[in-house]
Symmetry: D2
Subunit: 384 residues, 4 copies
């Protein structure tokens, strides 16, 4: 695997590298970690990468690697750059016949995202989008429960992703991540919605195994000097008729990384909270509340396959992230061996999920601009 | 005190009686507990009430009691009947110069509620509306913190009141409370919104010490056969510019009585959950999370005055309810003695809070009917 | 009912009065609330008690009331005085043919307690000891589960009762309750063990429905100036072979009223915490954790009978206390009517439980004095 | 680094490898993973290890590696074999001038452990013992708080480590780990005490930064057919005069990996639970409860240095484990560079901690055999 971005000081770059190499399926052997080639070389050395595979820019990397013989050339490009760079990098990677792992939000516009999906299909390359939170085993358990009908018909959904780190105007105090997240030239048309709202959206569609049909959204910019929104309240309608709310905000002072989801069916309901990621609470009208725990024997196949330690030995964010890379890698390997990947292997967020995220962003912006009109996420033009 | 309603088998009647007599300020000495006089007489006997003060109907009670000499006549009428009866009973009680405690929602229309408020002022009678949940000491602490500026400027509010008891169509199976709650002829124009939504609304206005300025509401009727809505998602805007959501539902299967509130300021935030009513969580951007506990020394005057037991000796719903009656009674007594009640004594929900609840209901219905347009709760006509 | 003790400013007196009158079975009609008759008269007036039934001392009260005709005389004496007074007051009450409710610890010595039990049997009078915590519905549920074999054979027990209020030497700063609790002339031979240790002991024997067979105890006096112990660590062996620990302390700084219990059988285990009194957690080796909630339909008959509100409407300490009085009163009434009380009615702590508590205290003292030898609680002399 | 043990299917072997390589300081380059050389070769290949450095036995590995030139030879031997093999392997590793990381309990007897400590000093080799749980950042925060006097004088300690996985006789059903854990020929003289009791013991001594002075222990063998104890209740006395309890058990049915600790000082107390490892609760007598969270800014230097992700992104067991390896590696590197390691780097469990664990085991056995006499852990012979 070769990486673009994730240079010195990048937290998410380190998270990607750790996740990729975690299970022994992927090895990081090349990279363009920074626009500054010296920084790339320095980090590459620290990471023990062959200096000949450290490149000054991604075009050079693709060109060099493209013509290496099978077995020596890169299989995968991991893209960990700011949002506005994803499109051209991922596009060229696919066209250069690399499989791609790309951070979210996938692109800056929905159209770009759809284009990437199209290209990945055209070139028959796998494309993973690192929506971390659907990598958690108890989220997979939640989806399995919905699919198995254990909740009955889903009626109501409440999803929230609230953080507090942008509750003060830290972008003007030299906070690096705050600066690019709140800068439209790097983040695109949205701030918090692209950073965390899309995670919440992906969580809903993944767990409910259905699509969001339409949204009614209010976006707020709490800090007056900011160009991008930092707070979102949305009503949502799902394809199956369920109603709900999707709230995301980065100005909820004191909140750390509080993503949570409650799903109410006509038979039972579930609750999951990322900060207590190993619990899944199930409630009934006529039976006591049940608390499922990661690492125990009482879970579905898919949840068990995405846990590495026995119950009571906390796993967390890094393992959820690693699950994406692992399932992605196992899919690649299985296909290379001419076999059909299992549902467990195929269970990672793909280009189409990235496209959905971008669609949500655009439609939420549209609803907000209209003064909270309902806007459909259906795409008739794609039916053909 | 005399009571109307709360006959044999009425849970809320028993709660009112217990709350009223709890602190020794109020004694139940008369009543019309049921439309069936025999039932009134039977319950009256059980409660040890002088048979001569058990009446066949409330008009008889008012008439008889009205002409008794001061000291012997009733001071207070407590109204615990279904919603559609509140207006005429409360109106006549006020006109008969009784102080009134009335269950919520106050009336069936906003106009009726406003009329009651007007009459209570005209006749200089105290009027309490039993919004139970603002009776909790930690809710009072929350309000004190907002008032003292400990949260800074309030920016975002998330209030929810979710229950699951109407998630199945139990009204058709002879469930008594479900039957009248879902029957427009008894509940008025709304179901869940009147039963629990108004509590959530009262909680927001009380704790934030400001008004909800406008709402954008989606009401859902989850069970097809039902005439009244059982689920509500609302966006709200507060007078001070804060944004937020107010969600209430009775079809959240497995939920018991899950009322919760999170308020985010620019300095700190707070979280309160009714089912863990004795905790109040405060979060900061730069200090560890703090958990305040009822019954401890570290609370404001008002919270301490509304607790009866030391920390760690759980109090709950009954005590919150009793706080309303106690503060109401202390206000009456203090005024009767020609003194000015303290802020602590005056801290009970009043007719104006009942009016606000009815206004919210009407505006939420209007917003829903318009397909989620924003509807203002400002009332220019009342300025004169 | 007449009360001895519980004068102005006594928290526990108010708790007893509220609990006694809560369910309409008992009425407080007489009292000796204080050694100072003026104080008794003043409080009596506030409580609306007929002045002729306020007495200067308990002997006077018993004498006067004893000769009143059936129906006019007191049935029950409630004793809410410091420990060292319980014995003589309760003894005379029984001999005067009153039923008795007495606070815990029952007496100052085990012998006194056994004497009270004997007298109550001789005079056929009911005798309740207010071990509050076994009045909680979920504690009753726990006992029912053990009795029904849902945990299998009980193997291990962990009970703790930790508070922090004596972690500083507040008795020398005029703290009234701290003063008598730490004064051997008023509390007897033990401090914290008598105040809270006996609650933990009662909880074990009640829930496990078996006896503690032997103890191995270390008592500590953390504050050097104190005459009585303020901290206890005990190993316990139960009659059925189970092993465990019983820890109680009043120097656990920051703890409020933290009584908890975990019981491990060979099929399942349970956990209950007084400060979250409405939950009962059940754990299995092969099934998900279950959380039972007070007020829901899924509980045993006995738990359901000891709850007054639906799930999610928090009840607490006052209701647990009231359950003792209510069940005691229902037993009296049923017996008076010549019927056999049900198991639900009979479910209140009795003189024999008070005796067990005193026995535990004496044996724990003996074990501690011996340098942590095991001391048996078996009483061969009682077999005859 | 070379590894002994941790062959195919070994969970703890994988945990060690992941932890060792996590931060880029250590690379696994050699190994004897199994007694079956074929298995070693197979796993070695999977792990990408040069086949020439896969060895049939550890003596061969040491011999070969010993004579390689500096920079090519192994620095560290990681020992992940069953307990009874640790001593001879670690001894020879030290004598062959390798630094050693060894799993716990360090050896089978206290004498062996002391011998290893002596040898490591003689040969000036670093020696880490993988007591995982003191690797958690919030445990380090707890220790820093005790050291800084934030709790005041420590008075009372309550430590527990309870699991349920041995609550049924699974060793007779072919459960591999259960088989060797309950087999004296592989585990030594103790079962659960060596497996988990020593963790609890290490936690106490680490956080309180003092020694356990004496113990009074009851060991139980709950499953009759078992040769080794599976349950422990101990009283402990610390050097500073604090009293407490240390409970460990593997027959607490339904418990996962429930290690917890409460420490009460005269100023404040703390509570930590491994299964919610990122929280540290601080309680005061006169201030609200505080909840410290891993990954936030409000922690001590040492806690912040042992966290890799921002607050709210759960880390867990693997990161705690990695902290041991990382600090160990940084100490080695710093010393190799002729510098003095910082306190942060030196913060990993060492041979002396392994010795303490073995001493605890022996003294606990002695106390139990004596019928719960107090047994001292002081070692006068070591003073010279």
């Amino acid at each position: 695997m070769g990486m673009i971005g994730g240079g010195p000081g990048s937290l998410i770059g380190a998270v990607h590298r750790l996740a990729a190499e975690r299970d022994g399926y992927i090895e990081l052997v090349a990279g363009v970690f920074s626009q500054d080639f010296e920084k790339t070389k320095k980090l590459g050395e620290e990471l023990g990468i062959d200096p000949s595979r450290l490149y000054p820019d991604y075009i050079a990397m693709f060109k060099e690697e493209l013509y290496k013989p099978e077995g020596e050339r890169l299989d995968i490009i991991s893209i960990v750059t700011p949002n506005h760079l994803h499109f051209e990098q991922a596009k060229l990677a696919l066209e250069s016949k690399f499989h791609v792992v790309c951070d979210k939000p996938l692109t800056v516009t929905h159209q770009q995202a759809a284009e990437l999906e199209r290209i990945s299909k055209e070139f028959r390359k796998e494309f993973a989008v690192t929506y971390t939170y659907t990598g958690y085993p108890m989220v997979k358990e939640a989806r399995a429960m919905v699919q198995n009908g254990e909740l009955g018909e889903v009626r109501k959904v409440m999803v929230e992703y609230v953080q507090g780190w942008l509750s003060k105007e830290i972008e003007s105090e030299g906070h690096k991540q705050a600066s690019w997240r709140t800068d439209p030239s790097k983040s695109g048309k949205v701030g918090a919605l692209g950073d965390i709202g899309v995670h919440a959206f992906n969580l809903v569609e993944y767990v409910c195994d259905t699509k969001v049909e339409e949204v009614c959204t209010e976006l707020n910019t709490t800090i007056a000097s900011r160009s991008l929104e930092d707070d979102n309240n949305s009503f949502i309608h799902l394809d199956n008729g369920a109603k709900g709310t999707l709230i995301s905000s980065q100005v909820c002072i004191g909140e750390e990384n509080n993503l949570s989801m409650r799903i109410y069916g006509d038979k039972a309901s579930l609750e999951w909270r990322q900060m207590e990621s190993e619990k899944l609470i199930i409630r009934y009208s006529d039976r006591p509340m049940k608390v499922l725990k990661a690492g125990t024997d009482q879970l579905s196949e898919i949840a068990q396959q995405n846990v590495r330690l026995p119950g009571g030995h906390p796993e967390g964010f890094n393992e959820a992230f690693a699950n994406i890379y692992r399932n992605f890698a196992k899919t690649l390997i299985t296909k290379r061996n001419g076999k059909q990947p299992t549902q467990v292997d195929l269970d990672f967020p793909k280009a189409e999920d990235g496209v959905r995220g971008m669609l949500f962003i655009e439609k939420a912006l549209e609803s907000n601009a209209s003064g909270q009109k309902w806007v459909s996420l259906k795409q008739p033009e794609l039916i053909n």
